[in-house]
Subunit: 411 residues, 2 copies
């Protein structure tokens, strides 16, 4: 007998029938002899609707009040899930964040977990109650409701799993696991049976939307295994039907490159003919940082004979207009000849812990893309990933070619 | 300067525009120099939707979980109202029931208020904060969320007014006051400037839906004046534009009959030729009481030569089928010849504290109805009301004739 935390995302509890279906998954785990705690998201679409209500009064609304409004979505699902479990004859009870309590700091709409003592909840679960916790939310020191940021229910689930000393945290979603690449684009993409925390973290930050980055960080820090699986497809009871996110050294078969991620969320800015002098990078990036704009990839060309250089970097597409505005207002100070902006770009990334110890991994990428006539605009590397920025129109071609080149294709 | 509690019902906060409109009413009171606390209902339709979610999983769902689900409707409105007030530059903050806290017993879905210490909230309001409390909800001793029953936000508002020692509780709704009769039926109905607690209580229990009965009881016990007024029509700032519910002796001009109520929620049952023996009433009504069926009007004819009697009474229309089933199963024991059921009836009531000290009030009613050829099926009286049961088709005719006969018509 072991204790599991099962988390159901918005599409998995999108309507009453789906909530009943999710309850059936929980019941199946109970029947196998597991003790179970459940974490639920809001029904699909509800969070957006509630945020839109706040925005339609004023875009500059109080984050404390947004949290008080938006957290209700998960409360509704938690109560309905408890009812659906009770209807199956199970002992279930819903818990809002403040009732557990899950204590956070007071950074409303993006709160961090400060303290999560779930001993009492663990005892109830060990005594046979299925505790259903509303995800995404906590309570601040002054008794206000807080939320953990978009996708925060994944973090709630991992935090609960750690707090109740669960054996594993199962994240039920609308895909049946983590794939070597996006299966909607790369038909030969394979579901990975296992993936290391570090790899999952890179994939999540580089565009794979299957898990919230913070939840993977938390799981990695406390070594809590996560299984990603589908509410709609995977059979319960079969041995780990989804993808297990776990320690790297537990993964036997290890390719150099584990998976490919891509994102179209970035836009490229080039400042043409900037004077190549000390302090120029600060002149460009300090005003952006002050405006809370995150700069991702940065590349600077070698200075020409006029001692000027081209500086290229990427920002989130949502921030493109603000970025342009700020740089235009700083034009005198920075002293550039021209500003070019391009939102028609895709960032494609290779991820794999094996890259640490293998030479020539990036070379294969450059060669493969060159053979297909795809121009690389910017390159960025980390210890276990290599990313390139390419023109958006080549996205599918690049992903499929790289997937084959790194031996990831399904047999 | 005085402290007011303003309560907005479901239609008054039915969408974002209406929430903004309600916020404008609050702002106008603040501008007049009042300190203000606000209580809000769920947006119109939301409570029904949430209850339907629970029911669609199972009609026999856990009342604790229903409360956890349904209470979220008022939480959403409270947050949105706080945002709408802040948008006007006011200092506002939302409060869920558990945050104040409003403590109740553990009778989920129909909890009673046990303790309501709002001293801290009063201090915040006196310091200039507009406290926006989610209506309808409280928290039990074990930390679960409870709700006060249908229409419970009226009770929340009156309880808050008492707890913060407000001068008055203004209930904003979709009618601009309490009328001498239903203005959709009686064109000459007049809005009353003032009405006594006792009269309002009778009107509310006899079918006038403008205030929840419990809220009027509470206001009467603590002598808290309530004003009923419209979010859509009444001008702010004019002297008490709605109807003030207050002490009887504060009302100067007093008709014998203050208003007419009517309800089509009742159904009539007649047991024909019941043996007229001791214990027969118990044989009929004890099984109904055990099934939680409330019996309203009761009349029994004099015994005939066979020592049998006809027994007529009314129950809620919703309970009619259950009532028939129970009485049929008890037929042997009760020993009646026939059971007649009629849901085509209306109960029409006269209400007025003046009836205590005036003779002949009921006689005018009987004479007026007789002149119009309307048969009275059952009569019931209380100290300040007289009710008759008539055939449903005569509802409008009876109301208009009685309205004129008692001198209630507008000039």
């Amino acid at each position: 007998m072991s204790l599991l935390v099962l988390k159901f995302g918005g599409t998995s509890v999108g309507d009453i029938e789906r909530i009943k279906n999710a309850a059936a998954k929980v019941a199946a785990e109970v029947k196998l002899g597991h003790k179970v705690a459940v974490v639920v998201s809001a029904m699909a679409g509800v969070t957006d609707q509630l945020i839109n209500y706040c925005r339609s009064i004023t875009p500059h609304h109080d984050p404390r009040e947004q949290d008080a409004v938006v957290s209700t979505g998960e409360m509704v699902t938690a109560g309905l899930m408890a009812i659906a479990l009770q209807q199956r004859g199970l002992n279930a009870r819903s818990w809002h964040g403040w009732q557990v309590p899950l204590r956070t700091d007071s950074s409303h709409t993006k709160a961090r977990i400060m303290e999560f003592n779930a001993d009492a909840l663990r005892q109830r679960v060990m005594d046979g109650e299925i505790a259903v916790m509303a995800g995404f939310q906590g309570v601040t020191a002054d008794g206000s409701i807080s939320t953990l940021g978009r996708g925060g229910s994944d973090t709630s689930a991992v935090a609960l799993a750690i707090a109740v000393k669960a054996e594993r945290c199962d994240i039920y979603t609308d895909v049946d696991g983590v794939y070597t690449s996006d299966p909607r684009i790369v038909a030969k993409a394979r579901k990975m049976p296992r993936i290391a925390y570090e790899e999952m973290l890179e994939l999540a930050s580089l565009g794979a939307k299957v898990l919230q980055t913070r939840s993977v960080e938390l799981a990695m820090r406390y070594r809590m295994p996560i299984q990603v699986l589908s509410t709609f497809a995977n059979a319960i009871g079969s041995e780990l039907p989804g993808t297990l996110v776990t320690e790297g050294n537990e993964i036997m078969e290890q390719n150099t490159v584990t998976g490919l991620a891509h994102t179209k969320d970035e836009a490229k800015i080039t400042l043409v003919k900037v004077a190549d002098r000390p302090g120029i990078a600060a002149a460009v990036f300090v005003p952006l940082a002050q405006a809370n704009i995150i700069v991702d990839m940065i590349v600077q060309t070698a200075a020409d004979e006029e001692q000027t250089t081209d500086m290229t970097f990427t920002v989130s597409r949502n921030d493109l207009e603000r970025t342009k505005k700020i740089l235009e207002s700083e034009r005198q100070k920075i002293n550039y000849k021209n500003l070019l902006a391009d939102s028609g770009v895709t960032k494609v990334s290779l991820v794999g812990v094996g890259m640490k110890s293998h030479a020539g991994v990036a070379a294969t990428m450059f060669k493969t893309l060159a053979e297909k006539g795809i121009n690389i605009q910017v390159i960025e590397t980390s210890e276990i990933s290599t990313s390139v920025l390419i023109s958006e129109e080549y996205t599918e071609l690049a992903l499929r070619a790289l997937h084959t080149a790194y031996g990831l294709d399904a047999q």
